[in-house]
Symmetry: C2
Subunit: 241 residues, 2 copies
Amino acid sequence: MARATGKSEAVYERLKQDIESLRLKPGAKLSEIQLGEELGASRTPVREAIRRLSREGLVDFAPGELARVAAISLGGVRSLFEFRMTLESEAAAQVAAQTQVQERALDAFQQLLSQLEMFEESFRAMDAAQQARSFQDFYTLTESFDQHIIAFCRNPYLARAIREMRSQSLRLRHLSHTGPSRMLTSLDEHRVMIKAIVNGDSPAAAAACRHHLTQTLQALIDSLIGAPYEAGVEVRLDSAG
Amino acid sequence: MARATGKSEAVYERLKQDIESLRLKPGAKLSEIQLGEELGASRTPVREAIRRLSREGLVDFAPGELARVAAISLGGVRSLFEFRMTLESEAAAQVAAQTQVQERALDAFQQLLSQLEMFEESFRAMDAAQQARSFQDFYTLTESFDQHIIAFCRNPYLARAIREMRSQSLRLRHLSHTGPSRMLTSLDEHRVMIKAIVNGDSPAAAAACRHHLTQTLQALIDSLIGAPYEAGVEVRLDSAG
DNA sequence: GAATTCCCAGATGTATACAGCCTAGCCCCA
DNA sequence: TGGGGCTAGGCTGTATACATCTGGGAATTC
């Protein structure tokens, strides 16, 4: 049964979603047998999925021991964002250079810019309740930006590394409950990044990217320290990782 | 038979060595069954090892198809070095900052510096034949530098990414046949990097690292273009990757 | 009462069996 | 002689069996 979309892939996607959405909490035991029974697969595909998730940092795994959903620690979050800064500022710079020579890239980001400015305008006109309700559109927009960066980053290693770090970031988002105020500043930050990219200004794009990630990290940390047991999820406030 | 050093690990290490040393040539077929028989293991550990190697870029693997030793292309080599530049210049900068606050780090690099200067001095005194014969010591020294960077890089994601890129670089080394002239300039470049790190000068460390990798890439490319079939290994000169 | 030791349920590592898919090579036909 | 279809072999994906090990709790001892 060697189908293109095999069971291993299905188990992987399912587990990834469950971990990203915090449906599976950090520290939860991941028994191959139990998961296999739950997801209707045997141990082999489950095993493979767990290994893949382990390399993406969503699962803590040591040979011979029980695999567990990766813990979340303040130090780990800092490290993650620091690394993302290294990767994504470089990617932003490369993409900015790319828009000057590849029309498709320029078009894509110009279109994204106008989408963002339209949304930003209507968003600013909303009251707080409406703003809070449109957070899904906000996420769709920012995710679209990330996808563009990955898609137009011509270095495949860099693109893959960024993609692999995304899963962890997505999980953290579910702990931070971004409010309307942060959404507004984040929209600003995105606008600055996109403009730099469209203008082909690599240093500005890199700087804007670093700034955005710094602000996002700060908002996240404030959120974590303010409510370290949000949604029943423990966040270790030590400096490990 | 779940020993601490399991068969999966053994198969992985063995395959990795065989690929790095070009004993297994790019494009060589990696059949799970055949490898299992050769290495005295069953398909399961071999499977796992192949997946791990695929992640490190040493194996080209697509679901349902035969896994093959990763091809080497000029474009791929460029991408690899560009990515290494992103990672390692950042790490060098971080480690430079580290030596100012952590005595162990400072000591380690000062010791490495004196080792390198001693070797450099004696190396310059050798004739060409002697220099060519001491290339193993040269490699030991430069690898020691890489290990120090990884060991004292406080960001675990960055450290892991650098470590995972090393296997591919090691394989490429076997194609370039670094000569005494390049060894000398490489020693210089390393001395500059280490001095910047010891002095705690992060920007200088990053710049020196970029310079070193640029020079190394150039030497490698010259070598590849000059003899693209070195050791019976085909190097694709297209721009893929 | 606390620490230590022993023990067993359950988990992992590995081997092997079975089912579908891909490929390569041969044969047949125009 | 060249091209297309067919068959056979081997390969991967998945399931399951077996040996060994982990680790968590109960009983025991100081």
